[in-house]
């Protein structure tokens, strides 16, 4: 029985449990609902919960446990010489057995018989069924695959029986528990509360998942490449992820990527900070209500545009524009119409990213500036200060910590931004200071290393996780610090 069919059965038992539970509660009340502790629906829900929940737990445990059990049993059945090989090779063999077992299910009895007679034909036979194999399978693999199929089959049957028993037992026991004094509502609400808590712990689980998964893969990477070579290396040249290549085949220096990330982020902030700040100041201090109600949402449209669109804009419009204008400039000055700005460059990516960041800077600082109490504003204006004097000498100094926090959050966004730099910054990992030349970033390299064929055993793939955890750590620190500053700032004026 497939899992989805099982789920359907559980659902049916649950609905039936609800109906029977409500009926029984009604019957017990005998027309006098006030004799019940809870409304009948709660008794029904109680039965439904006890029919569904245990069965779901059984399924969940089974889904996690049974593949592990089956896999270890099948591996235990490997011939000794296979067991002696490396873990990676055993994994390879097991994957192949998995493929064969899928193929076996598509074969007719005669085809099966023929294949078991001559394992050399297996590859062609299975390929004809749409199951390509990487190599000719060894004879033991066919038997293992057969075992695998049998165990999977048995496991599925066993699971079905277990689940249905669990559901029915739960329904029966909870049905028996129904009595007028039974506090069904409290029980049901208890379960609801637990599920609410479970939902909110997903946030924690996500963080744990991020850290744990990236740390594990990154540790694999650092087993192959020394950490200091990664963190302090100045050359990025991972070569190809060729099977069997040794770790020394590539160089994984983080420094040039980090340099590019910071440089592009710096250019972006150079664009976004003055524009965003002045826009925020104008909106909160000068603009009439009409101007504000038009310009503010329009600027926020910039924040709603997907970054891939910015990337395309940089690639197709801004990059070529900068290249052509530099050629014209160069021509006017030296007579040589050669462009000195590359289409993909730090400048292109930085400017476009800066435009993307304008609304972040402006709306975050707008919030901060409006949080400055009106009394301070009035105090300054009442002394005869002009608006700009009030802003420059009273409001901005008062808002400074909050604004710094806002800028740190924006900076963390600049560092983590991917699509704009993927399309507009270039892929050359270089250390240089010319903003007209392409540089690359941590995020670009994560994408580069992970698109295409993946091998979770090669440093070329795993380095992406080391890059990822570096990126995560940097942005996390920036964000926590920024949140801390902003929180303190807000408390000051509350």
């Amino acid at each position: 029985m497939s899992i989805s069919f099982l789920l359907l059965i559980i659902a049916v038992i649950g609905v039936a449990g609800y109906l029977f539970g409500s009926w029984r509660a009604n019957a017990l009340a005998g027309g006098k609902l006030s004799s019940l502790h809870s409304r009948p629906g709660y008794y029904g829900s109680f039965v439904a919960i006890w029919s569904i929940l245990p069965a779901l737990v059984v399924i969940l445990v089974w889904i996690i446990a049974s593949p592990i059990y089956i896999s270890s049993t099948v591996r235990g059945g490997f011939p000794e010489e296979v067991k002696a090989t490396s873990q990676a090779e055993q994994n390879l063999a097991y994957n192949m057995i998995g493929a064969i077992s899928r193929g076996l299910n598509t074969l007719s009895a005669q085809e099966r018989e023929a294949m078991f007679q001559d394992s050399a034909t297996a590859r062609t036979v299975l390929a004809a069924k749409g199951v390509p194999l990487a190599a000719d399978p060894a004879p033991y693999m066919l038997t293992s695959a057969d075992d695998l199929n049998r165990m999977t089959q048995a496991s599925s049957t066993f699971l079905s029986i277990l689940v249905i028993i669990a559901a029915l037992a739960g329904a029966f026991l909870s049905y028996r528990a129904i009595a007028p004094k039974f506090r069904a509502r409290n029980r049901v609400e208890g379960v609801m509360l637990v599920s609410l808590i479970a939902a909110s712990s997903i946030a924690i689980l996500t963080t744990v998942g991020i850290v744990a998964s990236m740390a594990t893969e990154a540790i694999h990477f650092f087993n192959m490449v020394p950490a200091w070579e990664f963190f302090f290396g100045t050359t990025w040249d991972p070569r190809f992820a060729a099977a069997g290549a040794t770790a020394s085949a590539g160089q994984f220096g983080l420094i040039p990527l980090l340099a590019g990330t910071l440089y592009i982020g710096f250019v972006a902030m150079l664009v976004a900070v003055p524009v965003g700040l002045f826009a925020a100041i104008y909106m909160s201090e000068y603009a009439s209500r009409t101007v504000r109600s038009i310009a503010k949402p329009l600027l926020e449209v910039l924040a709603g545009i997907p970054t891939i669109v910015y990337g395309f804009f940089a690639l197709i419009t801004v990059g070529p524009f900068l290249r052509d204008i530099s050629a014209q400039l160069n021509g006017l000055v030296t007579g040589n119409y050669a462009s000195f700005i590359q289409a993909q460059s730090v400048l292109t990516a930085g400017i476009v990213m800066g435009i993307m960041l304008i609304p972040y800077v402006s709306s975050l600082s707008d919030d901060i500036i409006t949080a400055v109490p009106r009394a301070l504003r009035d105090g300054s204006l009442g002394l005869g200060a002009t608006r700009s004097e009030t802003i420059k000498r009273v409001i901005m100094p008062a808002a400074l910590p909050g604004v710094v926090g806002a800028l740190l959050m924006t900076a963390s966004r600049a560092i983590g931004e991917t699509m704009i730099v993927v399309l507009a910054a270039g892929v050359a990992a270089r250390m240089q200071l010319n903003p007209f030349e392409p540089m690359t970033t941590v995020t670009v390299k994560i994408v580069n290393q992970l698109t295409g064929d993946l091998e979770f055993t090669s440093p070329q793939t795993l380095v992406a996780f080391a890059l990822g955890i570096t990126l995560f750590a940097i942005t996390l620190c920036l964000n926590i610090y920024a949140l801390y500053i902003v929180r303190k700032y807000r408390e000051q004026y509350e």
């Binding site: 509360l193 709603g304 891939i308 560092i415």
Partner: protein, 442 residues
């Protein structure tokens, strides 16, 4: 400065207790004021200018993608070419492998009056027809083999280069050898256009086709389905989980270190770079849990995790906005805390929650980076039947097309961006309307 003239009145009052009328540098200060104001306006103008430039750049490059140049001519389904030896009854493979492009080429050559012996001419004619004609004619014939031997009027796609030329996107002043359409082809194009055989049609293929290496036959249909699957998964998972989490944190959670931790956590998760979620998805869902790569399911799960913090933050704000008096009223009537929340607080907060959810979904719809890592950069030509099948997403399709070198793909990319932006605008307008319609001021 007109006040200076009024100073006699000051003298009458007696200057002993009062300061003299002073020069407080008004001229310079107002100049500074104007400059400051100007900077502010310039900043807003700068932002809006780029917004306009971006939209203009996309729309001006992309609006033509919604039209497609098609050729409508009588095509003779010649037995000679399709099934010379009349063996289709015995060998059904024959109709599948037949040389259909030649059928179309001959038909066009006939219309243009190119002789069957003029090899160079025939090659040029062939260059005007999209390769997709092979599939189109094959489908016509396999659906109804009886049309073999007859002549039917067929509308098929013009080649991408001809499409560009017909839309005026190719500079014809460039020397012939340096451009993709020859003068001869342009002449024929004009000739066909005058006779009405060649014209622009609304490009339905853009919305229905899947990936194709030929720009004229490429569409976002498959990507739309992939995005739709993912949005459904995100909605189905993140709305209940997000609302449940917010209810707990806002209404039930005691103030202690654990809830503080969750609080800080959620704020941080909202700021984690999206690409990190891609790495999480790759490591956990694909490598550890063994889900298939490129599947909409994995994409949906990753986007769910990414959207959750946004929804939780919006939902908590909406719950917070419900005044405590409502809770007190319900509790005072003997409702349990759970009943109070689900019967009174939650319905009142619903508009705010839905607005936040729609905005979260809109963000998820435009997200690209995490999807690249879980293998959605895939050439998917067939519509995925289930969320477990390989799929791609609208923004990823845009990314892939943006990397294509051909001129005609720029138009496609911009067209796809317009489609994406229209979806985003609709969602945001929906959110705004929802807020306007149901917003409550306490």
């Amino acid at each position: 400065m007109s006040q200076v003239s009024t100073s006699p009145s000051m003298a009458a009052v007696g200057a002993s207790a009062k300061p003299e009328r002073r020069d407080i540098g008004l001229r310079g200060r107002y100049a500074a004021e104007r400059r400051f104001r100007f900077y502010g306006m310039a900043a807003i103008a700068f932002g809006l200018l780029f917004l306009f430039l971006l939209l203009f750049s996309v729309v001006s490059k992309g609006y033509t993608a919604f039209q497609q140049t098609m050729i409508t001519i009588p095509v003779e389904f010649s037995q000679q070419i399709i099934d010379k030896n009349n063996e289709r009854a015995t060998n059904p493979q024959k109709l599948v492998t037949a040389n259909y492009p030649v059928v179309a080429r001959n038909a066009l050559a006939k219309v243009l009056g190119v002789s069957e012996d003029d090899r160079a001419g025939l090659k040029a004619v062939n260059g005007m027809i999209s390769d997709s004609v092979r599939v189109q004619l094959r489908n016509l014939v396999t659906a109804d083999p009886s049309i073999i031997g007859t002549t039917q009027k067929v509308t098929f796609l013009a080649h991408g280069d001809l499409d560009s030329a017909f839309k005026g996107q190719i500079d014809l002043s460039v020397p012939e050898t340096n451009r993709k359409v020859s003068d001869k082809q342009v002449g024929w194009m004009n000739q066909l256009a005058e006779s009405g055989a060649l014209s622009k049609h609304f490009n339905t293929g853009l919305f229905t086709n899947g990936a194709s290496s030929r720009p004229e036959a490429a569409g976002v249909g498959v990507a739309l389905i992939g995005s739709l699957y993912m949005m459904l998964i995100v909605l189905v998972l993140s709305l209940p989980i997000g609302v449940a989490a917010s209810i707990y944190l806002e209404e039930f959670a005691p103030k202690n270190r654990f809830t503080d931790l969750i609080e800080v956590n959620i704020n941080n998760l909202a700021a984690v770079p999206s690409i990190v979620y891609g790495l999480l998805g790759l490591a956990v869902f694909i490598n550890f849990a063994g889900f298939p790569r490129s599947a909409a399911l994995v994409g949906g799960l990753v986007l769910t995790l990414m959207t959750l913090p946004t929804i939780i933050i919006a939902t908590r704000a909406a719950l917070k906005a419900v005044p405590p008096s409502i809770r007190a009223a319900a509790l005072g009537l003997g409702a349990s805390k759970m009943q109070t929340v689900f019967h009174h607080v939650l319905p009142l907060a619903m508009p705010g929650i839905l607005t936040g959810t729609i905005i979260g979904l809109a963000h998820a719809l435009g997200e690209t980076a995490p999807l690249l890592l879980i293998g959605m950069v895939a050439f998917v030509a067939d519509v995925p039947a289930t969320p477990m099948d390989p799929a791609t997403a609208l923004p990823v399709q845009i990314y892939m097309w943006a990397n294509e070198a051909e001129r005609a793909f720029v138009e496609r990319t911009s067209g796809a961006i317009i489609v994406l932006l229209i979806f985003l605008i609709l969602m945001n307008v929906g959110a705004i309307l929802l807020r306007r319609r149901f917003e409550r001021r306490w």
